[in-house]
């Protein structure tokens, strides 16, 4: 249930993001989720992709600094209070979140990508409360 997220260092420079998406597109790599954390002069792009190994390889080849981090992807109903409920479980169990980003899809569900220092513990408590987590196989394409 641990999902491999790719983080890429990006300079704040016009066209740089387009170069990256171009490389993924040429290699037929689908992006399931992404977010950009930015500071004044650089950004960190975080994304969940269909073929993480291939994406890591081709981006490295093109000179990007790439880091793979483990995250979990939580699925919650797309309605008021559901995120609050899930986060409440984590905080009750003293599980700190380093960062997170979310997106909702057409089927009335939302996916929340969570980065924590203790992903296994997070998986355990969330599963105990019958919350749904994305399986690696659901995202990765073979």
């Amino acid at each position: 249930m641990i999902i491999r997220q790719l983080s890429v260092f990006l300079e704040n420079r016009t066209g740089r993001l387009t170069e990256l998406t171009g490389i993924l597109s040429e290699n037929g790599i689908n992006i399931s989720a992404f977010s950009i954390a930015d500071s004044t002069d650089f950004g960190i792009l975080r994304m969940i992709v269909g073929k993480p190994e291939l994406a890591e390889h081709v981006l490295r080849q093109k000179g990007f600094a790439v880091k793979v981090t483990d995250v979990i992807c939580l699925i919650v109903p797309d309605k008021p209070g559901s995120l609050h409920h899930a986060l409440g479980i984590l905080s009750e169990n003293d599980i700190a979140i380093d960062y997170m980003y979310a997106f909702s899809s057409a089927e009335g569900r939302a996916t929340v990508v969570i980065r924590t220092a203790v992903p296994q513990a997070a998986i355990r408590v969330l599963s105990q409360h019958r919350l749904e987590l994305v399986q690696a196989g659901d995202i990765y394409q073979i």
């Binding site: 983080s7 260092f9 300079e11 954390a37 500071s39 002069d41 600094a65 790439v66 880091k67 980065r115």
Partner: protein, 432 residues
């Protein structure tokens, strides 16, 4: 091993006597053959007979790079064109290039001092030396080449650049010695790792690096990457090229071949000669050079000289690694800044690599210094606060080293241009 025991281990008093004789003969020679020098000596009321020993050296005027430009191309030659067998020129970043000429004897002397240098690094006829300094107008390639042939080593005259070929020949021919600029050595070391070449296929044992400033940290890095002992060689084309001085195995400074190149340290502002051990501008008088001997040439390099006998047995003075060049030095908000200081800071921090670029700007009459540092995968964190923390750490380390504040900007790996020759570390936009 010592190539020329007679001169390299000579008693200092005897050496000084020989230097005096050579100086005196050289001054007479330029008086008779170089109108520029005759006029300059006449202006100071000096005649050749006044210069009889080393004690008279401080009476002589200095020669500067500008004097070389003013006498472009052949104005300082002491022999007619028929006597010149080689011309080299340094890249003229400002104005005309600096031209130097060599007679047959000059080439022989140059080969001898480079042979002495290579011997210091343990090079013998059993070695295969890959000369990856640029061949051509630059003195690096041909200088090392002739010296290595004099020693009897097998020379691979591959010149600079073409990294794939460098690595291929290094493996296939089994090069044991590499000669190039330190930045290119580091670049080749990284390329070996990237190309996943097996360590046991690289037979290198020593490297002879020079032509640009480098730090002890960079030495450690190169030694680690290439698995060699790295030696520092010093020279400048105006004096002869590489082989003016070289480190022995003790690595406590570079021995200057004083029987040919008479060194002095002066206060760059006043021209006053400073005693051994004091920091100042290095000045050379290449007394035995035939085609283009210079009187007290100001190198613009800042260093110290030490005259105590070295453990290797040589009596030749040792010069420290240059702190910087008077003309590399940036004056930012009134503070002297050398790129080598920034490099030293980066190499001391385990998270960074020595790829950097200094940009100086002037906005509203205030100088600002920006330092671009490449983010390396090994320390790239995907958290903004960690990267910002690293940036602040570099910023404050550089600030305390330089004594002025700067802005550190993290850039993507590979964005700072790698050099095949001399690395470009500074962009000064204030002068534009």
């Amino acid at each position: 091993m010592i190539w020329n025991r007679q001169y390299e281990c000579m008693e200092r008093e005897e050496l000084r006597k020989i230097q005096g004789e050579r100086l005196s003969a050289m001054v007479s020679r330029v008086w008779n053959t170089v109108p520029f020098y005759r006029q300059r000596l006449q202006e100071l009321g000096i005649e050749p007979g006044d210069i009889r020993s080393m004690d008279d050296l401080p009476k002589l005027p200095f020669t500067t790079k500008q004097d070389l430009r003013d006498n472009y191309p052949f104005g300082l030659f002491t022999v007619p064109q028929e006597g010149i067998v080689r011309l080299h020129a340094s890249s003229g970043t400002t104005g005309k290039p600096t031209v130097v000429g060599y007679t047959k004897n000059d080439i022989a002397m140059w080969s001898e001092v480079v042979a002495r240098s290579l011997t210091m690094a343990g090079v013998t006829q059993s070695d295969i030396i890959q000369v990856a300094y640029g061949y051509g107008l630059f003195t690096g390639g041909l200088g090392l080449h002739y010296g290595a042939e004099t020693v009897g080593a097998s020379v691979i005259p591959i010149s600079g650049g073409n990294t794939k070929k460098q690595l291929q020949l290094m493996e296939d021919f089994g090069s044991t010695v590499l000669a190039c600029t330190p930045s290119y050595a580091a670049f080749l070391g990284e390329a070996i790792i990237e190309e996943k070449i097996q360590k046991e296929n690289i037979k290198l044992k020593a490297g002879i690096f020079g032509a640009e400033p480098w730090t002890e940290g960079m030495r450690t890095e190169i030694e680690r990457l290439l698995g060699i002992k790295a030696y520092d060689i010093y020279g400048l084309s105006e004096i002869i090229g590489p082989g003016v001085s070289m480190e022995c195995r003790c690595q406590t400074g570079m021995h200057i071949f004083e029987d040919h190149f008479i060194p002095e340290i002066i206060n760059p502002d006043t021209g006053e000669v400073l005693p051994y051990g004091e920091l100042g501008e290095l000045v050379f008088t290449p007394a035995t050079k035939e085609a283009m001997p210079l009187i007290r040439y100001r190198t613009r390099d800042l260093t110290r000289l030490h005259a105590e006998r070295c453990q290797c047995g040589r009596t030749l003075v040792r010069m420290e690694k240059c702190v910087g060049r008077t003309d590399d030095m940036l004056i930012i908000r009134g503070v002297n800044v050398f790129p080598s200081q920034v490099e030293a800071v980066l190499l001391e921090m385990s998270e960074t690599r020595p790829h950097y670029l200094l940009t100086v700007e002037r906005r509203h009459n205030l100088d600002s210094l920006e330092i671009q540092v490449e983010v390396d995968e090994s320390f790239f964190s995907d958290e903004v606060k960690e990267l910002e923390g690293l940036r602040n750490k570099i910023q404050s380390a550089i600030g305390s080293m330089l004594g002025i504040s700067s802005t550190v900007r993290l850039v993507e790996p590979g964005t700072i241009e790698r050099s095949m020759g001399k690395a470009k570390r500074v962009i000064d936009n204030r002068t534009r």
